[in-house]
Symmetry: C2
Subunit: 341 residues, 2 copies
DNA sequence: ATGAAAGCGCTAACAC
DNA sequence: GTGTTAGCGCTTTCAT
């Protein structure tokens, strides 16, 4: 690697026979309003083009103390919902001339802290986080230094800016719709009990049961982690305890549902009578032999709101409501099937 | 946002009563070998901790002309294979103290160029790209300035470092296995004809047909783009032309297969007699009512090889083979089904 | 064992 | 209209 030396603004200025600052103005497109002559502008631009001048973001960030960079922390980029969200956000950023830095916490608190610190070192202009921490105190502190928007999960009663799908009500509706079909058991798989995500979905689930008039049984509740392995294990354990598949099961996340599906397909259980439902949809669910009723989040809408919020925070615009609960849809495949036939 | 002023190395030095350079040495863990007294070291570290000192990456990159940053360009992060790959690569980078910058080209040449330039401006220490360009000349030029590793797709006969799944042979095997089951038509969906990805898979497909003794018919070949919409449309067009589903169909990518599945499920065609096969696997395929035979790429292996290669290129280690064709597996679900029952 | 000073590439206030 | 200059925060010689 014989890295050829970088072309700097100094080189351009020298070659164009102007000063650094003039070159800087022109190259930043602000030559016009600042009365640089048309000649000079053309000359500088031309030389820059010829020399393939690439401004150094680092030098720029250093002196302007803006990095034109946004940080995103998600639990897992390979989770389909987060992938869709990230993709959308990346597009929005790119169109706005910002670079998105994506980091994964792998659903792990200390890794999350590491990732966040790393992003701060890189002087991101704003931070968007789907956090797996229990308290918002860390982010409360950070948000004194730079705009922070929490998304997907709220941290306790945090007052920080937040974008999230409404989940209690939608879960309740989903669960009520399913429970109303006359089952006498209805299991619930979720991650750690203390995080808000779990609590909300649990609350929705209980409300749903109540609405449908199914008496709640605490033994139906299972807690693990928000990953496929955990879903697999919880189901495995449940299956061997019951000696059969449960009548109905709600998974609080797509990852858990994934684990359950893996178990079912490996054990040739896909055609048994189990009513699955879950938070988070997947396009392939439409093609499954087993039908899954879901709460569908709108990742584009989430991304758009996050972006809009962080952007106005950064630009210090006054902005609307700083905590937004966005609507989620239900996708009831069983019901649809019933109507069809 | 009253951004409280950033804590710099100057502040630390002042508070610790030492000079900038001493502080720098200590904070970079090189205090020991450079004979800074244990006292001083402890004092500096302690103060840095108290003040939550976060070094500025930009300042550091500016003076050291290394950014500890790697750039990744993929067509679509929301594509499951790329998501898995990115996740894996992100983990490897993080563990090595590097930040991964992910950009999407959306399968679009000019967007790809934009993304790459952007990453170069940010002074990435290396670039990993799954390119949708036709020629490698752009990357040939770039690679004179910084290490570039192409992955997932090769550009013509490019001699640039490359990590890719072997696809001709594996496609041939897959297609032969399917075609050997006595169909008399076997369609082929792919993206643009000129890119190597398409050409390889087409070659594999034709070889497979030949092996199975099925005479190739050019009308079976359909070209579109590598996205789900295109798969949907090609299938739609084919279906209405034939007036029925084709007997067998190979999709050259997971995205195309996605589009086909969407069409099938929307038109209630999932239980018809169609033999699907595709490049790229998905865990949910195990749970589908329609069985799909696939070529399975090993994203972890790909990521690991890319990382290893770019890393040694950056560090200027001598390294092994610079073009690696990694093995891909077959996942034959139909055959498995047949064995089972 | 520690400090002073130059310089990385760029921006922006202020001269001229 | 254009140039001068002083930083931005850090690394890295070279002195002491």
């Amino acid at each position: 690697m014989n890295k050829t030396k970088r072309v700097t603004i100094n080189d351009i200025a020298r070659l164009a026979g102007v000063s650094k600052s003039t070159a800087s103005l022109v190259l930043n497109g602000r030559g016009k309003e600042l009365r640089v002559s048309t000649d000079t502008r053309a000359r500088v631009m031309e030389i820059a083009r010829q020399e393939h001048y690439q401004p150094s973001i680092h030098a720029r960030s250093l002196s302007s103390s803006r990095s034109n960079t946004l940080g995103l922390v998600v639990p897992e980029i390979s989770n389909h919902s987060f992938a869709l969200f990230s993709h959308e956000l990346e597009t929005l950023c790119r169109d706005a001339g910002l670079q998105l830095l994506i980091a994964c916490s792998d659903e792990n608190a200390s890794q999350e802290t590491l990732a966040v610190n790393n992003l701060i070192q890189r002087q991101v202009d704003g931070l968007i986080v789907s956090s797996c921490l229990l308290s918002d105190s860390e982010y409360q502190k950070i948000s004194q230094q730079l705009p922070v928007v929490l998304f997907d999960r709220h941290l306790g009663e945090s007052t920080l800016p937040l974008v999230i799908s409404e989940s209690i009500e939608s879960t309740a509706k989903l669960v009520a719709a399913v429970a109303g079909q006359g089952y006498d058991e209805f299991y619930f798989f979720a991650g750690p009990p203390r995080i808000s995500l779990t609590r909300d979905r649990l609350e929705g689930y209980q409300r749903g049961l109540a609405e449908a008039g199914l008496a709640f049984n605490p033994e139906w509740i299972h807690h693990g982690h928000y990953d496929a392995r955990s879903g697999y294990e919880m189901f495995s354990e449940l299956y061997s305890r019951l000696g059969r598949v449960p009548q109905a099961l709600f998974c609080a996340s797509g990852a858990l549902q994934e684990g359950v599906l893996r178990y079912l397909s490996r054990h040739d259980l896909l055609n048994t009578d189990i009513h699955l439902c879950s938070f988070d949809d997947h396009y392939l669910y439409d093609s499954l032999s087993v039908m899954i009723d879901t709460v569908v989040q709108d990742e584009r809408l989430l991304a758009w709101n996050c972006f809009e919020m962080i952007f106005s925070l950064i630009e210090e615009h006054k902005t609307g409501e700083l905590q937004r609960w966005l609507p989620a849809r239900l996708r009831l495949r069983h019901a649809q099937g019933q109507i069809r036939h």
